[in-house]
């Protein structure tokens, strides 16, 4: 069983976000980067499957220097290898171009399973897993909360609105992980020590044979803006009965929502 896990380095979700002067980036100074929370479920699932079925696990991540610590953490948790897709040409790639680079890195690796987080927190596009499945010409199951692998077949339970779908098919497959799939482990001290000695393979555009395909970035970020300001709210005072009466009155006659 050979498993690839795609990981994205994103700003810690509790971080304050400041828009940089160029209006198309955020200020990176002082921002801590972490693996997108959903990617932790993907890593954990890869480790659990390896424990059960044996094999090899490789983490892939595309990005700048912020990726190193995130891949180091994946190694510390127990991933066997890590590959950093890094090139100046990879700056500001849209999801489709990102998926193309990942597909180039993964395509001929003989992987039975490609795991991703269902969403890269920050960009919040939910695109890369499906893009990757199409580019690799593989089946897919997204937003998965339960996964079983047996005899080159998979059975995945995925979340949809108000229901769960059970999807079955054959390997290889692209699976994206949702919260609930497992409980991610923390790296052990032994793992952290071992990860320090492991090498992170760096692949640039030339190594991926990617120059031509890069021209395909087809969606351009015009600018980042602060979220629309909400109007100053009203504090409703008084005892509970008075508060409730006033709230209902405001919802009905001012906000007109009930």
């Amino acid at each position: 069983m050979k498993i690839a896990v795609c990981v994205k380095a994103v700003p810690d979700t509790a971080t304050k976000i400041a828009i940089a002067a160029d209006k198309t980036h955020i200020e990176k100074t002082g921002v801590r980067f972490i693996a997108s929370p959903y990617d932790e479920f993907a890593i954990e699932e890869a480790l659990k499957l390896k424990e059960k079925l044996g094999g090899e696990t490789v983490a892939f991540s595309l990005g700048g220097d912020e990726v190193t610590d995130v891949l180091r953490d994946a190694l510390a948790r127990g991933m066997d290898e890590a590959v950093h897709l890094k090139d100046e040409l990879f700056a500001d790639l849209d999801p489709l171009s990102t998926a193309k680079m990942l597909a180039l890195a993964i395509a001929n690796g003989g992987f039975d399973l490609i795991l991703c987080g269902q969403q890269g927190v920050g960009g919040d596009n939910n695109q890369v897993p499906s893009l990757l499945a199409e580019l690799l010409n593989l089946p897919q199951a997204n937003v998965v909360v339960k996964l079983e692998i047996e005899n080159s077949k998979f059975k995945a339970e995925r979340e949809i609105e108000g229901a769960h779908e059970i999807v079955e098919g054959s390997l290889p497959v692209v699976i994206s992980a949702q919260k609930g799939l497992n409980e991610p482990r923390y790296p052990s001290i032994k793992g952290v020590m071992a990860a320090r000695k492991k090498e992170i393979a760096v692949k640039d555009a030339a190594a991926l044979n990617a120059k031509e395909k890069l021209a395909a970035t087809k969606v351009k970020l015009v600018e980042l803006v602060p979220p629309p300001a909400r109007t100053q709210g009203k504090k409703i005072e008084g005892d509970a009965d008075a508060q409730v009466k006033e709230l209902v009155n405001l919802l009905r006659s001012e906000a007109r929502v009930i």
């Binding site: 596009n125 089946p139 909360v145 098919g169 709230l247 009905r252």
Partner: protein, 327 residues
């Protein structure tokens, strides 16, 4: 030459998604700037009967992709049908509602067409004849405006944000079948289980009542459910109470949960961590009920009530029930 907008209309078991009709309404509002016509695509088995409802929203054409293979959603069969419809209609843009189905399907087809996609769009505008799509990023701490470089691509629109409006123009649309290419389906849905919990679906609910630590324990969900029942609302929850095992993850609003945009969001005993706000800050009206006057949720709330949820909510339920019964 590509022209116009194709709108993917979602149905499951013969039921139309309301948010698809919002996407169709927005396509109609944008078409004069983009040029060409609006076509709606229905995919499924024997779905022609849904055309009459779709027609009310004024597409010029309704494309029907029908086969037994399409009775149940599968990524590959639906991707094939959408790709066939795109080849037939040759649109500049494809619109869909940002639902579980679209999140699975739309990027797959975008990759096949080698076209970009912007997901979870909350605003559209045009500048110099180019479509600009705005979407929340970084847990709604910023919004990003994207331009389609070649003037073509896919967009998924956040449910409940764009108005659904029936067309005044009475002309009935042409209905045309889509010729389907053969598809090998390697992953199939073999079962569907309804999730436990609320009667109203979170993503499309116009009112959501959401609970956090302030409800004190899982035995008190009934208090919030009563309020849901009088309002026809869906039940939401904060991450803290989902992690504590008080309720299923299906109810979680926020990062690592659902993103919602209802008309009214009533946050009960939710402090308002940034991860929660990420999932509900585009709600039109926010009510916060919390006993801590310093809770961050009050910064976002249109109406703030400082008080005990378990005292306020039953009174609120009674007051609204009385009002509904008298009107």
């Amino acid at each position: 030459m590509p022209d116009g907008i194709l709108v993917f209309i979602e149905q499951r078991q013969g039921r139309l998604k309301k948010s698809s009709l919002e996407a169709l309404s927005e396509a109609k509002r944008r078409i004069s700037e983009i040029g060409g016509e609006v076509a709606a695509l229905l995919v499924g088995d024997k779905v022609a009967g849904l055309s009459a409802e779709v027609a009310k929203y004024g597409p010029k054409k309704i494309l029907l992709a029908e086969s037994a293979e399409l009775a149940q959603y599968s990524t590959e069969a639906y991707a094939g049908a959408l790709a066939d419809a795109i080849k037939k209609f040759s649109p500049k843009f494809v619109f869909a509602a940002n639902t579980a189905m679209a999140k699975d399907l739309i990027p797959r087809v975008a990759a096949r067409m080698d076209l970009p996609c912007v997901s979870d769009v909350v605003d559209l505008s045009t500048a110099d004849g180019k479509l600009i799509a705005t979407k929340p990023v970084f847990s709604s701490k910023a919004q990003a405006k994207f331009e389609f470089v070649d003037g073509s691509g896919f967009l998924t629109l956040r449910p409940n944000v764009f108005a659904r409006s029936e067309s005044q123009n009475g002309a009935s649309p042409q209905t045309e079948p889509v010729a389907l290419s053969p598809v090998t389906v390697r992953a199939r849905v073999v079962e569907t289980h309804a999730a436990e919990g609320g009667k109203v679906e979170l993503g499309e609910a116009s009112i959501i009542v959401s609970g956090g630590r302030g409800i004190k324990g899982p035995e008190n969900w009934g208090v919030l459910q009563n309020l849901c029942d009088v309002l026809g609302a869906a039940l939401g929850a904060s991450r803290a109470v989902v992690d504590a095992g008080w309720i299923d993850h299906q109810h979680q609003v926020g990062q690592t949960g659902r993103t919602v945009s209802p008309q009214l969001y009533i946050a009960c005993g939710i402090s308002g961590a940034i991860q929660h706000l990420a999932g509900m800050s585009t709600a039109k009206v926010i009510v916060a009920i919390n006993k801590d006057p310093e809770a961050p949720i009050f910064k976002l709330a249109n109406y703030g009530v400082v008080g005990d949820v378990l005292e306020i909510v039953p009174k609120l339920t009674e007051e609204i029930r009385r009002l509904k019964e008298s009107s």
